[in-house]
């Protein structure tokens, strides 16, 4: 079979492109090297849907961010059952002499079309952010920024794309891409797939994939960001996402609301040569705590319940989204650093346009399933609703994860929707992401996975082959 498009990489970029292309009468294949989608950069980031500020007005990422933000707010959040919270953002200054910097960010944002920007004073802040420290003098208020669960964003897009006919192959690392006169041959996971077009959305590995295909035109330099999550008890420590003034390479250390309730502090921004270097460090923790406490001195190290590091797949300052003329039919979606999560819906529309320019017909499907029902999460519904759910299905009353209130039914649902690993269950349901870190629920989840997937216990893994949890069973 010759497909129309093969997309390499099921992160937020590849997922959004797959879903966008699934509107049309096309045969699309999405290849992912990991055991599940969203296990690359898209799982470890701040989850902020940026408004579009803090980007140069002439940049690609600037306008894609503004447009991605709009598409998510106005269409995707409702269509895909996403829990998007438009909490707004504050960029604070510690010195009134820096007010011109805020004016500049405001003017640049407005040039990109960001709406509702407003410089606010300390009295405004005192009324709305009582925990800000005394050093904070004023801020730029950015109302259209918000938060989302990044992996659930990816899962929703992939699920809906698959519902609309896209084929997903996981555990399929692309090892060769050959341009033949009639199209591409893509080798992945021991199979050969054929297509007319290839979209390379391979995140940190996009440079290697592009080179494989014959276009060694850029290099990805990972920039590490460490993030530290706080206990849900601190949920209301901040009401907005709080930023300091940005530096040259990053937006600075932030206080981030997350859509699941736990506030987060971070991220750092340091280049690393190693694309697998996801280690957090003592130095990173110290830097994050110092940065966050300058804005909010009551933040305490003992509030931290989890941490992770993510790598921004940077290549220069801007995104690289282009057709490679040297390899006709190859579209690169690379260098998707921040705000890639936000921009993805707009990137997808742009990529569809690039493919069309190169001769891919975009004929809308008669029946495109635009809507995806939101999965049930007990932690998001009031108790009365929980009672109703339990009456319909008793196993919503069978609580697996006590810290985050996740039932056996939700875990089973996650597995039926594609979770194959403990992390996949965690990202979809939040089971194991609370304060006990899976101490209480891990064995139960392992058993549910065995039941649903028919696996021996030694085959249940954290995030795919090589990360099995149990080495042996006692005879």
């Amino acid at each position: 079979m010759v497909r129309d498009v093969i997309i390499i990489g099921a992160g937020i970029s590849g997922a959004a492109i797959a879903r966008e292309l699934s509107r049309y009468r096309l045969k699309v294949l999405l290849l992912e090297k990991e055991a599940e989608p969203a296990f690359g950069v898209s799982k470890s980031n701040s989850g902020i849907i940026h408004a579009g500020t803090q980007n140069p007005p002439s940049s690609l990422k600037g306008w894609l961010c503004v447009e991605g933000n709009r598409l998510l707010r106005e269409e995707l959040a409702a269509d895909l059952g996403l829990h998007f919270v438009q909490c707004g953002q504050l960029i604070v200054v510690f010195d009134l002499a820096d007010l011109p910097e805020l004016d500049k960010i405001k003017a640049e944002g407005e040039a990109l079309g960001v709406k509702g920007l407003e410089i606010v004073d300390r009295a405004w802040l005192d009324a709305r952010e009582p925990n800000l420290g005394p050093e904070v003098k004023a801020a730029l208020y950015v109302p259209s920024a918000g938060i989302i669960s990044p992996y659930r964003f990816v899962y929703a897009l992939v699920e809906n794309a698959v519902r609309n006919g896209v084929r997903l192959e996981t555990s399929s690392r692309v090892t060769a891409v050959r341009r033949r006169p009639e199209g591409f041959e893509v080798v992945a996971g021991g199979q050969v797939f054929r297509s007319r077009f290839v979209v390379n959305a391979a995140g940190l590995y996009a440079d290697e994939v592009s080179a494989m295909a014959g276009a060694p035109t850029f290099k990805i330099t990972p920039r590490k960001g460490e993030e530290y999550l706080l206990d849900k008890k601190r949920e209301h420590i901040a009401n907005h996402i709080i930023f300091p003034l940005p530096s040259k390479t990053s937006k600075g250390i932030l206080i981030i609301k997350t859509s699941d309730g736990n506030p987060m502090i971070g991220p750092t921004a340091h280049e690393t040569p190693d694309k697998e270097d996801l280690a957090t460090t003592d130095a990173g923790l110290a830097e994050v705590l110092a940065g966050a406490r300058r804005m909010m001195p009551s933040l305490d190290r003992s509030d931290i319940i989890a941490y992770f590091a993510g790598l921004r797949p940077a290549s220069g300052k801007d995104f690289i989204i282009r057709h490679e003329d040297a390899v006709p039919g190859l579209v690169n979606v690379a260098g998707i650093q921040s705000p890639g999560l936000t921009s993805a819906p707009a990137i997808a529309v742009m990529v569809a346009g690039l493919l069309k320019e190169r001769g891919l017909p975009l004929t809308p499907k008669e029946e495109f399933h635009r809507l995806r029902p939101r999965p049930v999460h007990l932690f998001q519904v009031p108790l009365e609703e929980t009672a109703r759910l339990i009456e319909k299905d008793p196993s919503y009353g069978d609580i697996v994860c006590r810290c985050e209130l996740v039932s056996a039914q939700e875990v089973r649902d996650a597995i039926r929707r594609g979770a194959r690993t403990l992390d996949g269950v965690k990202f979809r349901t939040r089971a194991q992401s609370g304060r006990c870190h899976g101490g209480f629920c891990t064995t139960r989840i392992i058993k549910l996975m065995q039941e649903e997937l028919g696996l021996p216990v030694t085959a249940v893994s954290k995030r795919g082959p090589g990360s099995e949890l149990i080495k042996d069973e006692r005879k």
Partner: protein, 326 residues
């Protein structure tokens, strides 16, 4: 809404002792809620001996100790035991909501005893830097895997923390044929019982490193090694003292934290450092008619003392209900 005289949350040694003592003191109607499918709490996974020396004057395993109380609880017609029942909400006027397969129920309690036990402090709370591969487990989780499920989590282990759970798990893993390479302790001495240091480590030739810490966990998918470094009296790393231990498993045993989220939800005062109720005396909370006992009240080192104090909590609840003098 149903009214119940006394509701006990938690069916471990603390909850069982409180329920039984309340009954002896004259409480007619006790509802005992337990999340798990059996009574006994954490004792069910503590299959080693060392329980009951004080209370029963004989040496029992954890499950044996628990079973003695469970048998009495189940035989008592005045105690209704609800298993797989998970309390999700408590109000200051003692309304409790709980989930169980098939229903969400709400009851009004005359008095409440919270005996919800502890959770383990995790790697994240220290925090131990490095990657986050499979193979890093809280020691209590590993104990549950090995003792309750027969699952052996790894083949070469390093244990962080020399409290009793860490020591007991070092021995347990060694008995299962796991190569236990070291126990790493940041303090100058062990928090565990002396008998455990001797019986669990020395008898098995497992090295114990005082004043050391893990400075890095390595491995992408599964733990491959840890970096260990010596620290000075101020817990600062001593340069040049670091070494690496290859292993596929790290068990983290760095203390317990009382589980008092329900109490906090009800608005009681909680000490932020220890997560224990702020109150003038053991078993009390800042809310009238709501008591906390066992490891939820403070972290005990012996189940025998949990039983003793929790019996007192049962009697205190009875007195609050006006059915007994203390």
């Amino acid at each position: 809404m149903k009214e119940r005289q006394l509701v006990v949350v938690g069916g471990g040694p603390a909850g069982m002792a409180a329920a039984l003592a309340a009954r002896e003191a004259g409480v007619a109607d006790v509802l005992l809620l337990e999340r798990d499918q059996h009574l006994g709490g954490i004792l069910n996974q503590c299959i080693h001996p060392g329980f009951g020396l004080h209370h029963f004057k004989e040496e029992l395993t954890g499950p044996e100790y628990a079973d003695r109380f469970a048998a009495r609880v189940l035989a008592d017609p005045g105690i209704e035991v609800r298993l797989k029942s998970f309390a999700v909400k408590l109000t200051p006027d003692r309304r409790i909501s709980f989930l169980r397969p098939g229903a969400l129920e709400e009851v009004q309690a005359g008095a409440v005893v919270l005996a919800t036990g502890c959770r383990e402090r995790t790697r994240e709370m220290i925090p131990i830097p490095g990657t986050r591969p499979a193979g890093v487990y809280p020691a209590g989780l590993a104990q549950k895997m090995v003792n309750m499920e027969g699952w052996i989590p790894g083949r070469e282990a390093v244990i962080v923390g020399s409290g009793d759970i860490g020591l007991i798990m070092a021995r347990r893993m060694a008995l299962e044929g796991v190569l236990v390479k070291a126990v790493i302790e940041i303090q100058k001495s062990s928090r565990g019982l002396v008998r455990n240091v001797v019986q669990c480590l020395e008898d098995f030739g497992i090295p114990l490193y005082f004043q050391h810490r893990i400075s890095m966990v390595r491995g992408r998918d599964r733990v491959e090694s840890v970096d260990v470094v010596r620290v000075d009296d101020e817990f600062r790393d001593i340069p040049g003292s670091d070494f690496s231990l290859s292993c596929d498993t790290v068990l983290v045993s760095v203390g317990l934290i009382p589980e008092n989220e329900l109490l906090e939800m009800a608005g009681a005062l909680i000490d932020r450092k220890t997560n224990t109720p702020v109150a003038p005396d053991v078993n009390l909370t800042s809310l009238p008619g709501i008591f906390a006992c066992g490891n939820a009240c403070k972290v005990y080192d012996l189940a025998d003392w949990v039983t003793r104090d929790s019996q007192l909590a049962g009697r205190m609840a009875a007195r609050y209900l006006g059915v007994a003098d203390l």
